[in-house]
Symmetry: C2
Amino acid sequence: MTLENLFTPRSLAVVGSASPGKLGAVLIRAVLDGGFAGPVYAVNPKSQGVDSVPGYPSIEAIGQPVDLAVIASPAGSVVDVLEDCGKAGTRAAVVITSGFGETGNHAGEAALLETARRHGIRMVGPNCAGIANTHHRLFPTLEWHPPQGEVALVTQSGALGGVVLAWAAEQGLGISKFISYGNGADLGQEELLHYLSGDPQTRVVALYIESVRNGRSFMEALSACAAQKPVVVIKAGRTDAGRRATASHTGSMAGSDAVYEAAIRECGAVRARSVEEMLDLCRAFTTTCLPRGRRVAVVTNSGGPGVLAADQAAELGLEVPEPSLALKERLREFLSANCSLRNPIDLTVEGTPDGFRKALAAMLEEEYDAAIAINVATPYLDSVGLARGVAGGTAASGKPCLASFLPPQLSREPEQLLKQSGIPNYASGERAAAALAHLAAYSEAQRQPAAVSPGKYRESAPAERADRLFGGRRALLEPEAMEWLKSEGIPVPPFALAASPEEAAQAAARIGFPVVMKVVSPDILHKSDQGGVILNIRGEKAARAAFEKIRAAAAGKDFRGAILYPMVKAGREVLVGMTGDPQFGPVVAFGLGGIYTEIWRDVALRVAPVTAAEAHEMIRSLRSFPLLAGARGGRRSDLDALAEMLARFSQLPLEFPEVGEIDLNPVFVFEKGLAVGDARVIRRAD
Amino acid sequence: MTLENLFTPRSLAVVGSASPGKLGAVLIRAVLDGGFAGPVYAVNPKSQGVDSVPGYPSIEAIGQPVDLAVIASPAGSVVDVLEDCGKAGTRAAVVITSGFGETGNHAGEAALLETARRHGIRMVGPNCAGIANTHHRLFPTLEWHPPQGEVALVTQSGALGGVVLAWAAEQGLGISKFISYGNGADLGQEELLHYLSGDPQTRVVALYIESVRNGRSFMEALSACAAQKPVVVIKAGRTDAGRRATASHTGSMAGSDAVYEAAIRECGAVRARSVEEMLDLCRAFTTTCLPRGRRVAVVTNSGGPGVLAADQAAELGLEVPEPSLALKERLREFLSANCSLRNPIDLTVEGTPDGFRKALAAMLEEEYDAAIAINVATPYLDSVGLARGVAGGTAASGKPCLASFLPPQLSREPEQLLKQSGIPNYASGERAAAALAHLAAYSEAQRQPAAVSPGKYRESAPAERADRLFGGRRALLEPEAMEWLKSEGIPVPPFALAASPEEAAQAAARIGFPVVMKVVSPDILHKSDQGGVILNIRGEKAARAAFEKIRAAAAGKDFRGAILYPMVKAGREVLVGMTGDPQFGPVVAFGLGGIYTEIWRDVALRVAPVTAAEAHEMIRSLRSFPLLAGARGGRRSDLDALAEMLARFSQLPLEFPEVGEIDLNPVFVFEKGLAVGDARVIRRAD
């Protein structure tokens, strides 16, 4: 995709009132202050200019090629301005003006899009805070001008973008491109991600979103971009309160946060929980390299901050092991007896540049995958020298080192020196450890075979949603559900449907005693509660009696008979489910059911489909996984069979788009194999 | 306690080399730079002075009263310096010098303490970074000089203290006193907490610790101080890696973090996880007031940051409810149609000072307990005016408001204005929300009746640990344990000991069938595994047979007979335990046992004793509490009986200090009452 006119225009016009203090004037000032190299024009009814920028009544009237129009004129005029662009041959527009979809004016927004499309104009906005391309000195935005660098920021919230840019400037984090896409009428998250994945000036993409329209095309774009470069995502609206707020201010309802969490993870992107964390991660990704493992060396000249960094690292899943005896002996050769060598390596306040250099080099040579270097300065310490020591000790290793040189008042110069040596500096050792934990997780994910193949998440078109299963009804009866699952390759136990006591007795004998009998009726949802389930039936006579009892329990209901199964041998009960998410379509759920789900909320979600490898990962991600693996003297469940079944199951909603919800609960998992114990299959509502 | 000579000396001497660049010279410079009002003397063998500060060979030689000695002379000389203090009448000393207990030189440290005690000298250190009293312009420290204020910082790590002071200076957080107590040979955490609890210049105490010597006297001091003013605690060494590090650099092993967590909570102190969080909390406690509830209004002029703040607030247990219809109508009267009123109240970028003022006033008038005000500035916004609006809207409410005025580059002036109005400003709305969540939790704890009465945590002296229970043996037999528990008021089921088949039959008949029979032998720990437990015995003949079987199972072991109980009716199984912590002594554990303990690690710990009210809180703190409360159609357990039992149980280790460990597992809790199902009681090892 090429967005040349948008990001590297040779000339631009700002459309909107150029009177002092008005938006048009402010934007022109921002463009000039940013040092844009090409001609700039002001366009407004009064043909008013600003300083050296000449004013015209329309873009067409300029009589020169204008690559980009930055539009801040009143909402009612924007369609006309786009028409003007069309006539003048301008093919890119940034529409700052608000008052469209976000305030309910969907017709107005549709008209913008139609006009832009008709003229081949690519449009950012409306209702946005502008864009920036630091490498082109292009700043048509009201927000802070950040330093040039390698992080592209794409944001649904203009104000949030402004905050990030200001913080980036404060921290010296370089930005390549900034796009506040506002309502995203034309260019949205997906296209921008595709574009940035191929942008050579962007090494890391930072994305702030509150909602997506189509979860699956979002996943296609996100996974394609994440395959090229790290993508750090803030997804706001994690809680009900946050979701209510995003619904208010973007006019679109965000879906379940758990599904977003699963989707972002599946795509190989990194989720940040706050702006601070996003910036910390972007700094790590652009400054240092990825660790090949989780073993961290903490080298410090002060105890307390070293302890806090080690605590944080260990809590976030990094390993902080002691050095081997051999390595300790090597360290002891050049470190004084006061220095602790148990990792953290505490050089004490006597720590020298040479001490840092040698200690880091020795630790990183073999036994550790990454380092955190901590220096607490006083005005009496040579922090620049210590920074040189840290840089020197890391240089040859090819491994990442993150630093925390403190306090900020004494660390400006060492911070610059560290940065030039590929070592990001953090406000605390804890934050360095948190950033490193993300690097390690990202590195691990990168080394796994790509989970996402092109088209994996493509959903079937509505036209394909023929109703092959339900015959217009809302749900399948249990025998129908079992028959369907069986034909689709999901392991179900032998079963039979009986319509009379005699049929029940014969079926039970055929299946083999003992058997279970369950009522079949579209009217009865909670079969056990209503006397519709009889266990452990041990003979033909008992089977006849059981059928009578079940028929009696269904008196007055639409009774279709009884379904019979063999009594199942002891197996671990799990839950396998599928529901449709409004943004992401079919989502697969797996857990241990019962209290594990209800009290511990220990459920793994993935956007369908999943491969068997992903299903394995999904199973292992449960906190209750030890129970499946045979903890507490229990038997190990057949995890391979379970993973295969989950993978096959996850295909069903894509092959049968008419299905809206499936609940297999329980599924019995044995030491060898598994079997569905009960099944609810419900039609899609739309 | 009075520490006048230490914190408000009229004169001081710095003992140590005054040659340029040496510690003594640096300390004198720091004292002078700090603006100390009284006479300052240099003491060193060369009688060398620094600038206007005269040099003497000893304190005695000064011939003038010296209130405080700041000692940085070599380790080997410090005892002599303290003798000199004694002769000169100096009664306070800060010993910066290291090389004592922390390097294994315990004899040297003992000599310091003995000398100080003999002369009535109160001593800080050795191995410390000094002290400060900003209100006395006293800065005998190498660390950053912070602005004057109301937070006292007490720290075990000097370097960490330096970081906190530097950050406090950077953030404009005022400090009252700073004490780096180093090895704490004389003045340690406990005495300093007692002193600061009565210090009128200190409104909040910030405490950094890595270990405590005596957990119970620490709890006495911490709870006494926390009853007077907020205490914010960082306890480092949360993980194994961190603990190894603290052990390395303080020479003392920290105990289980879970016990520290419980102890800090029981004392009513607030635990921070990082220095940033500690500073954020200190700022909140010193600037604003406490909320009376958890309902938060978020008022913002930009959507994204508002959503992130609402998300964080909700995730941390605050409530972010929508305003009532009536309140929305009131808001609509003065807010434009573009503003979202669903909380966050989004004033949009058009938000005015008046909009902030009126919206905050309306929200705080009745329906909300606290507010978070967010302003994302651009250079084109009047942030000072908006800050005035926020201050005006909060003023009359008497309720707390926390702000996030962003970005930092544009928020220095509004931040000052907000601070003067009692509104702390944070680097992000998320951090404001996190600080507010702590304020709310602290406020709730303050409104509960005090859990800690003086002397509550005092442990019995070793002399009282007569062995009344064990007769020299390692553990009680089950019948002995049951007898003891019964006599101490813990509900146990009826039971009987039988030594022969006939006794077993008679005892079973007396108890009433069905009964359970269990082997009694000091050699058999896992009774079930070794055939030592027979359930559901339903007659005298069966009882005789069961006894024979159990006797056979114990063949070759020290067989003492069988214990009989009635078969217990269905009850929820829980675990009640007690172990001795090296720092805190007896600690009580409560949980649901089995997988809840092993996989979910869902156990509540409290330092013994606990009151029934605390036991209730302990029970409710379990994530699996819904199971006890009757979730999933289960029966509600008798929580009152359980809380009473826990309270009584928690007294036992204090009344019987010879007991080292008790395991009641399971305890059966019924709808009415409870009964111990099995008991292990083990003697204290020392």
